[in-house]
């Protein structure tokens, strides 16, 4: 057998844009799952835009009580000046609802940023090395799970702001409390993945070569264990919003003069509900519901789409027997080798990855997880062919 110098065209790889986490899933989705994902993305997008452009969108400031030297007045019904009326404190409801998005957004960013790095770092150490460090950390994580997050948030609020509630005090109180609760979540996910991945042959192969622990941890283990992070991230975002709203509702929120906050407004509108004033409670309430719904829908859809067993697909069309171009399932395509024996069969190993449907299926971790032995090989396999980053998002 001579060494053949075949020029193999690089497999057509989708553009970077198509491989981005959410974009990839959006393209792979179909039907109801697509609807859910699109709804979630639109809601989340509106939330982020409103938060970013709050000063441009809101007619008044969040702590503005008067315009042109004239007081707004308390509990004014919706009018041309105040589209959603005013609160019992005399603030414009629409403006406060719009600015509230900004506070919620900051809490999400602060809370997630604080927890994700610590959670991943200790999860990786714990999962990779195991032993007594692992046992202590797991027990600690379990203990933290036992705390109600709101209780922690109240404690943090008192410690940080000493009872005074400023904008950053409130934001950090909510952020730190969710950090404490979220670290065990990231810790557990990364630890579980690290435990699984450190037993994989490719990690052993790195050990055989003599690779150091740090390099194995970062290059081989960490990069392969972040698969489920986007999902937890989205779910934690919605939890962060709820914690902030809960704090505000309980009276540990942010003073109306420092920042707009949905939970605080809800709290102050409690009395209004019974006296027939609907416009103070509904806008912040709807804002909370829609934001949490949007982020949760994104998270849930990503979860479904990442799992080949849950993902919907378009049904296979009826292919006429003589149709041209249907993907062949045999690597290398239909046999053309003559009587050259094994040499002639080198084509079997194929050169087109898209055709290696079956083999890849068995080898792709996600496909391997699928319970149905038939379900995994076919559908799960091919979606990764040609897209190296596949469903990893």
């Amino acid at each position: 057998m001579t060494t053949t110098t075949v020029t193999v065209p690089r497999p057509a790889r989708p553009s970077l844009w198509r491989r981005l986490p959410v974009v990839h899933q959006l393209r792979a989705s179909v039907g109801l799952q697509r609807g859910m994902l699109v709804t979630g993305l639109v809601l989340t997008g509106v939330f982020v835009l409103v938060a970013a452009f709050a000063p441009l969108l809101a007619p008044y400031g969040f702590n503005q009580l008067s315009a042109d030297g004239q007081a707004f007045g308390a509990q004014q019904p919706p009018s041309a000046q105040h589209w959603l009326g005013t609160t019992v404190g005399g603030y414009d409801v629409l403006s406060r609802t719009i600015f509230g998005a900004r506070t919620a957004f900051l809490v999400i960013v602060a809370g997630v940023l604080l927890s994700i790095f610590i959670g991943i770092a200790i999860g990786l150490l714990s999962g990779y090395f195991g032993g007594w460090i692992d046992r202590v950390l797991v027990v600690l994580a379990d203990a933290i799970y036992a705390f109600p997050s709101l209780l922690l948030a109240i404690l943090a609020a008192i410690v940080i702001s000493g009872g005074q509630s400023s904008m950053w005090g409130g934001i950090m109180a909510a952020a730190i409390s969710i950090t404490v609760v979220f670290i065990p979540q990231y810790f557990r996910v990364i630890r579980a993945e690290a435990v699984r991945i450190k037993a994989e042959p490719f990690v052993e192969s790195a050990r055989v070569v003599g690779t150091g622990h740090l390099r194995i941890m970062t290059r081989h283990v960490l990069r392969n264990s972040t698969r489920t992070l986007p999902l937890i991230l989205t779910l934690n975002c919605s939890e962060a919003i709820l914690t902030l709203a809960g704090l505000g509702f309980l009276g540990f929120g942010i003073e109306p003069t420092s920042a707009a906050e949905w939970g605080y407004d809800l709290n102050k509108s409690l009395a209004d509900v019974t006296s027939g004033i609907w416009w103070t409670a509904i806008p912040p309430g709807v804002a909370i519901v829609l934001t949490v719904l949007g982020v949760t829908l994104v998270g849930e859809s990503l979860n479904d789409l990442a799992d080949p067993r849950l993902r919907n697909r378009r049904r296979a069309g009826r292919v006429p027997a003589d149709a041209v171009g249907g993907a062949s399932v045999v690597p290398g395509g239909v046999i053309t080798a003559g009587a050259e024996g094994i040499d002639g069969l080198s084509a079997f190993e194929g050169s087109d990855p898209v055709l290696d449907v079956f083999e890849d299926a068995l080898e792709h971790p996600q496909a391997a997880r699928a319970a149905d032995p038939l379900e995994s090989p076919f559908p799960a396999a091919s979606d990764d062919a040609g897209t190296p980053d596949g469903d990893r998002a």
Partner: protein, 565 residues
């Protein structure tokens, strides 16, 4: 075409199952995949039809269509006419739904799956699981169903069935579990049994016993068997007729003797040529080791013990093994699962600690060695793993993976700097350099295993450990990888520990063969000594259990095997 002949009794059907122009397509994200195209097959009562082909040929999909066991994403065209087990009616399985399909399964056609360990539900006694199928179809009392379950267990050769019917799956060995799965399929006396790779997950000595059982089914019960397999030895042992599938089509159908002696289609011929056989000569010249040179690996009374869990005894994986590998020599290590062969390989690579005895690898004593002392030696050892799919980091390109040893040992600063050497290595294993930019999942199994070989050879090792490097590959791909392996060994002259469960594969490559049985080295010698005139009873049994791809020769071997049992 739906259920026909629903009325009065008809003449006994000519075929148990008649597949007519079957097309199956799957919806995938990459578009429609046509797994089966235009397959027509008939199985006569009491006949054993083997459907052979390599992975992706559509053989399993075809078989599953007979039971209507395809996932939702599948679209089926054509007809699968299945005759009732009493011959009273014929149904088109592809047109049946829900209840009708349920009544057909088990009664008219039953399935034996590949992995007996995962087919049985671990939380129910095996008798309960057999009775479940029985009571789904017939109105039986508990006692009657139990009687029937005991009877069928006796029929498949489970000792003391009255007693063992209440045992749970974990209380049975792998071979017994497969017998129970077969019993489950037999209990309703179906006219057809579909066996999908029924012996692939089993050791070769257990496989021989299961084959013996399967062979008795048509004879004793008149059931037809559709046997899905990739193992030509199993085909030669069991089948009456063979259908060879390739790329979703049947390329050849013939009587078994006809096929093995006079294959018509070039694919069939290539497939048969690719099957390794014992005693056909090695792929490389035997290396006569120089006794005076210091061995690369020297094990003296090597013991490796896995500590038991709480209140369980320790597990002795390797028990007092003496082993020597000299420079440039290929030692084949053969054994069944649990024999300790992989453990020895891992111990030599420093992945598993040595419990007692002595193991010197490249001059370093591994018993009690620290990683620090062994690390310099690591650059002189290469390792090829069994499963090429999982032995590559899926997020790195092939070039980055192959460059990893070079970077770790400071021969290159980063993967890009190592690229010239990587291209050289890829060329040595006959992969185009452009493959370096691909990700592991974009390569086929054989290509990946060759890349794995390239990575193992990156540092020019003096010792290569290959742990079942071809057992996850199709035969034609295996032949190519073995051929490449032999050539590289001759070129580079590294010493090698070649671990395999397949005697024929080891025979092709090894200078010396060592046979392991339950952690003990039972026999060692050259290929001619061990395989030509085995001395130990276990080696003899192992050899006789191995089915050879030739129906006549296999019949002789079967007799030999019976006498050894």
């Amino acid at each position: 075409m739906t259920a026909t002949a629903a009325g009065g009794p008809t003449a006994p059907a000519e075929h148990v199952v008649d597949i007519q122009d079957l097309h199956v397509s799957f919806a995938t994200d990459a578009g429609t995949v046509r797994a089966v195209r235009g397959v027509s097959l008939q199985v006569a009562p009491g006949e054993v039809l083997a459907v052979v082909g390599e992975s992706g040929s559509g053989k399993t999909v075809t078989a599953r269509t007979i039971l209507g066991l395809l996932p939702e994403t599948a679209t089926t065209q054509g007809a699968v006419l299945l005759t009732r087990n009493d011959g009273a009616a014929t149904h088109d399985v592809t047109a049946l739904t829900g209840n009708q399909l349920r009544s057909v399964r088990g009664r008219d056609v039953a399935m034996v799956f590949q992995e007996p360990g995962s087919v049985l539900n671990p939380v129910y006694p095996v008798g309960w699981q057999i009775m479940e199928g029985l009571r789904a179809h017939q109105d039986l009392t508990r006692a009657e169903a139990r009687e029937a379950a005991i009877e069928v267990l006796r029929r498949v050769g489970i000792p003391e069935p009255e007693h063992r019917v209440d045992h749970y799956p974990h209380q049975f060995s792998g071979g017994q579990k497969q017998r129970i799965v077969i019993a489950q399929a037999l209990v309703l006396n179906p006219g057809l049994i579909v066996a999908d790779e029924p012996t692939t997950a089993l050791d070769v000595t257990v496989q021989a016993e299961i084959l013996e059982l399967l062979r008795s089914l048509p004879r004793d019960l008149g059931s037809a068997v559709v046997l899905i397999t990739h193992n030509m030895g199993v085909v030669a042992d069991l089948a009456d007729r063979v259908a060879v599938m390739y790329d979703g089509e049947i390329v050849e159908q013939a009587e078994v003797r006809e096929l093995f002696t006079n294959a018509q289609h070039p694919y069939t011929r290539a497939l048969l040529d690719a099957v390794p056989r014992i005693g056909t000569g090695g792929l490389r010249e035997r290396h006569v080791p120089d006794e005076s040179v210091t061995p690369v690996v020297e094990a003296r009374d090597l013991r490796i013990v896995y500590p038991g869990r709480f209140r369980e005894p320790d597990f002795v994986a390797v028990d007092g093994v003496d082993l020597t590998i000299r420079p440039g020599e290929v030692l084949g290590l053969v054994g069944e699962s649990g024999s300790g062969k992989t453990t020895i390989g891992r111990a030599i690579a420093g992945l598993t600690p040595v419990s007692s005895g002595s193991l010197r690898v490249l001059g370093v004593e591994l018993n009690g060695a620290r990683e620090k002392h062994f690390r310099p030696a690591r650059s002189r050892i290469g390792f090829v793993f069994q499963d090429p799919a999982t032995s590559f980091n899926p997020l790195l390109t092939i070039a980055q993976c192959v460059a990893e040893p070079l970077v770790v040992h400071g021969r290159a600063g980063d993967p890009r700097e190592a690229r010239p050497r990587v291209d050289e290595l890829l060329e040595a294993v006959q992969l185009p350099a452009a493959f370096g930019d691909r990700y592991p999942h974009e390569l086929s199994g054989g290509q990946r295993q060759r890349a794995s070989l390239a990575r193992a050879l990156a540092l020019d090792p003096e010792l290569l450990i290959a742990d079942e490097p071809t057992s996850a590959l199709d035969v034609s791909v295996q032949a190519r990888v073995l051929d490449l392996f032999a050539r590289l060994q001759a070129e580079l002259g590294f010493a090698c520990l070649f671990i395999s469960h397949d005697l024929a594969v080891v025979d092709l490559l090894a200078d010396r063969i060592a046979v392991l049985h339950r952690g003990v080295l039972v026999e060692e010698g050259t290929g001619e000594q061990v395989l030509g005139a085995p001395r130990h009873a276990y080696t003899q049994r192992l050899l006789a259990s191995l089915p050879v791809p030739d129906p006549d020769e296999q019949a002789d071997r079967r007799e030999q095997w019976r006498s050894l049992r």
